[in-house]
Amino acid sequence: MTMLLNASGCLDALTAPAVAQGLDAYVTKTVTLDARDGHVPVRIAETDAGMLNAIGLANPGVDRFLTRNLPELGRLGLPVWVSVGGFSADEYAELCSRLDDHAEVDAIELNVSCPNVESPAQGTAQIVAAARLATRKPIWAKLSAAVSDVAEVARAAEDAGADGLSLINTVRGLALDAQTLRPILSTDVGGLSGPPLKAVALAAVFTCYRATRLPIVGMGGVQSGRDVIELAAVGARHVALGTILFSDPDAPDRIRRELEHELRTRTYASLDDAYAIAHADSLSRATT
């Protein structure tokens, strides 16, 4: 059964519970071991067709998250995926271990690709392997598409014990102030999201679907029911909404309506019919 989720960092379910309840599962903003204030303003900027962010993983830290946020999230009545981020494989392992005992946590997403922090010294495989030893919860590895071979990273995550892939995170971008011609964001460079990402996401999902057996949550520039079908058709088992939630908190309901209409128009019984396209194509590719 295909699920509609939010992309991590694009919705606060405790501030806007009704929006979260329009989804099939809620993904938290990334939690780190220690509390983080995040970056100083300016943290967001609109670009020609997308937006940049440099929030900097602002979060209350795992202790306060577990005591204050998680019990409330558990009462929302929908599955909770906790996104975690660290600066070493050990930190990911500790975060996973801390979450492991909590029944409210349905899955853990490893944010191994946030563009706004120094990249982890160790590779994706080390992080996933360390996390795997620390928890029995399903582990989804969220990858960046801004690498030379995303399939290689996906296979490394699979071999290290990941249960699924989240594709894709934002990619690095920069926007200039029209008057000063200087970067708008305090960090200069930030993470690009929104419609420009859709083609990048389609390519990453397409590639990783063929490279691994892992289920994929596809995300990046989803604005409509049509976008959901396209991600499914290249191999996304589930789909997440990101930047669209900022401009339209009614997007989950609207996109479901559009999806129903698209499926009827195509005489598809469900989104599985679109997903089957990816499967059929990858089989025919394998035998030729």
Binding site: C10, D12, T15, V42, I44, A45, T47, N53, A178, P249
Partner: protein, 221 residues
Amino acid sequence: VATLRRERRRVVGNEKVGPYTLLRVSQGGLSPGTPGQFFMLEAPGRLLPRPMSVCLAPSGELAFLIDVVGPGTRALASLEPGDSLALLGPLGNGFRLDVARPLLVGGGIGIAPLPYVAGRLRGAPVVLGFRSDWHAEAAALLPGADVCVEPRLVTELVPVGRDVLACGPEPMLRALGEIAPGAQLAWEAPMACGYGACYGCAVEIDGMIKRLCVEGPVLFR
């Protein structure tokens, strides 16, 4: 936790007020909220909506004062009667109006929420500051206001012992925070969502990171 309401409404008026544009929109089922609250206005052709406080809320309408500073506000100021746009709101925390000796202080485009405040606090004195005579034409939205133009600063018009409700540029707000204890100050920050999702508008207040959209935009000194 307030429920979010988003509606597509028709533009019923677009009037120039000095360099600014007063965009009037049919109210539909939207509540105007309390003065100082804001709406996210769809900016046609742009990815993100723009936060605008309610300037006036006559019967059946919501009016927003727009200063063109970029492509989003340019798109909003270009809307004409008959066009439509989506509005989300009202959002955030407005001014507390139960004060003994109110004084409304506005600077530049920061006067935007004050006409709505003045409508609720009839007779409250108003002082306004602008950078030029042209900008000061917007004082017409607040009949009876004391107006000054740079190099004079509006903070020079603020007597002691008043309960200040203010909106304006950051230096003005910081100065008021010093000279007017207990002032209610409406701040501004870039926002992608307006309802606590994006963390783009976070500011540091007393050592705590707060989202201006849900904790503000009106903050108490």
